[in-house]
């Protein structure tokens, strides 16, 4: 379990290099990715929630952390959140579903693909929630300071 969290950290950093993230932002991105994976794996394997709910919680946790990092390091959020979201992408059910469809096991295959689609949808929901909350927060801050808010 701890090993897989460690490798999630490594994977996120590697994807950061792939997307040419500046060097000083690699480490916080890795921390966010490891946090997301840790929340996901704990909720799914230890507390026994289904993978959709775990994905949602993990995405919310890591996206919140990314928003904090973005304000700390004065960088765009996507710099941290794009690599950090990668470990959660449902590659396994997608591959299994494709393989089963290929072997004419349509029932089980569609089951897996719908699983993957739902996982992706719940990850999206997590991003959507946090990014709109962040917008709300930013706009309210600007309103307090008396600046113009983009409508």
């Amino acid at each position: 379990m701890l090993l897989s969290v460690l490798f999630a950290f490594l994977a996120t950093m590697a994807f950061g290099v792939l997307f040419n993230t500046p060097k000083k932002d690699l480490l916080p991105g890795g921390v966010a990715g490891a946090l997301g994976w840790a929340v996901f794996i704990y909720m799914r394997d230890i507390w026994g929630y289904n993978s959709q709910v775990s994905n949602f919680a993990a995405t919310v946790a890591l996206a919140l952390l990314c928003e904090v990092f973005a304000r700390m390091f004065k960088e765009p959020v996507t710099l941290f959140s794009i690599p950090a979201i990668i470990p959660l992408v449902p590659g396994l059910p997608m591959y299994q579903g494709m393989k089963l469809l290929m072997m004419h096991a349509y029932n089980v295959g569609m089951d897996k693909l719908v699983q993957a689609a739902l996982d992706a949808a719940f990850i999206s929901l997590g991003i959507l929630l946090v990014s709109s909350l962040a917008r709300l927060f930013k706009n309210s801050q600007q309103k307090i300071k008396g600046l113009k808010v983009r409508v």
Partner: protein, 258 residues
């Protein structure tokens, strides 16, 4: 309010517009979200006192115009987009410091053009990052040391070939299809050589660098910002690329399982 330093005020409004559009161009080509491109251009123009500038941006075009009848219109057509978070961060810094920008028009344009045309990183570095990411992912799914090595090789090879072919500008669909073909070939070969390798772990690890996570994330952020057209474009791009990857893998695996 912050006071604007003399340098930006000395530029003519056309020059500020030039710089702002170039900055937006770099942002769009580096894979920034739509609202960031629009926001950066509007904000840079507002510093010069041009408050009626309107920007419309989709993943393939930027149109900047004035709301007045005698205003000028600039349009930029983006044909090739990549992901470069480093450039996004640099332009973000520029737009934050724009109100106290110390350089003249000429040197700013030169600086931005250098950024736009700066050489891409060596293919082996990108391929190595992709390989390490793939390998780490194979272990996260419960793979052993052999899976780690096989996924490293698969991710490395597929990305290396893609980068070498990038000069010919293939369409992105066939690009990912080719990636799917190469990585499943390497994975199948690894399983043949060493029977302790698990094909599933290797392949799922190796496809990770090619899944369109950036397009999907940005597309959803576009939806939330109200840019529905860009959101649709990006999400359908993501679906198309996943389809391409699946076609490539299915081509090899169906032969393998026959």
């Amino acid at each position: 309010m912050k006071t604007t330093c003399a340098n930006v005020m000395q530029m003519t409004s056309e020059q500020v517009l030039d710089i702002a559009v170039l900055a937006g161009k770099i942002l769009l080509c580096s894979g920034a979200e739509t609202y960031r491109v629009e926001d950066t251009i509007t904000r840079m123009c507002a510093v010069r006192g041009m408050n009626s500038v309107t920007v419309f941006c989709t993943p393939s075009v930027i149109i900047v115009s004035d709301e007045f009848a005698n205003g000028c219109t600039l349009m930029y057509r983006a044909t090739r987009r990549g992901t470069d978070l480093g450039l996004i961060s640099e332009i973000n810094n520029l737009s934050f410091n724009w109100y106290q920008w110390p350089y003249s028009y000429e040197s700013t344009m030169r600086l931005l053009k250098e950024k736009l045309e700066r050489p891409t990183r060596p293919p082996w570095l990108v391929a190595l990052a992709s390989g390490v990411g793939a390998a780490a992912f194979a272990v996260m799914l419960g793979g052993n040391t052999y899976d780690f090595c096989a996924a490293l090789a698969a991710g490395f090879m597929a990305m290396l070939v893609l980068r070498k072919l990038a000069v010919f500008r293939p369409s992105s669909f066939w690009e990912t299809t080719l990636a799917g073909i190469i990585l499943s070939l390497v994975a199948v070969a690894a399983v043949q050589i060493n029977h302790e390798c698990n094909l599933e772990n290797v392949i799922v690890g190796a496809i990770m660098p090619f899944l369109p996570g950036v397009a999907l994330t940005n597309g959803l952020r576009d939806y939330m910002a109200g840019d529905l057209m860009s959101g649709n474009a990006r999400v359908s791009e993501a679906v198309l690329l996943v389809g391409g990857l699946a076609v490539g893998m299915a081509a090899i695996l169906s032969v393998w399982y026959m």
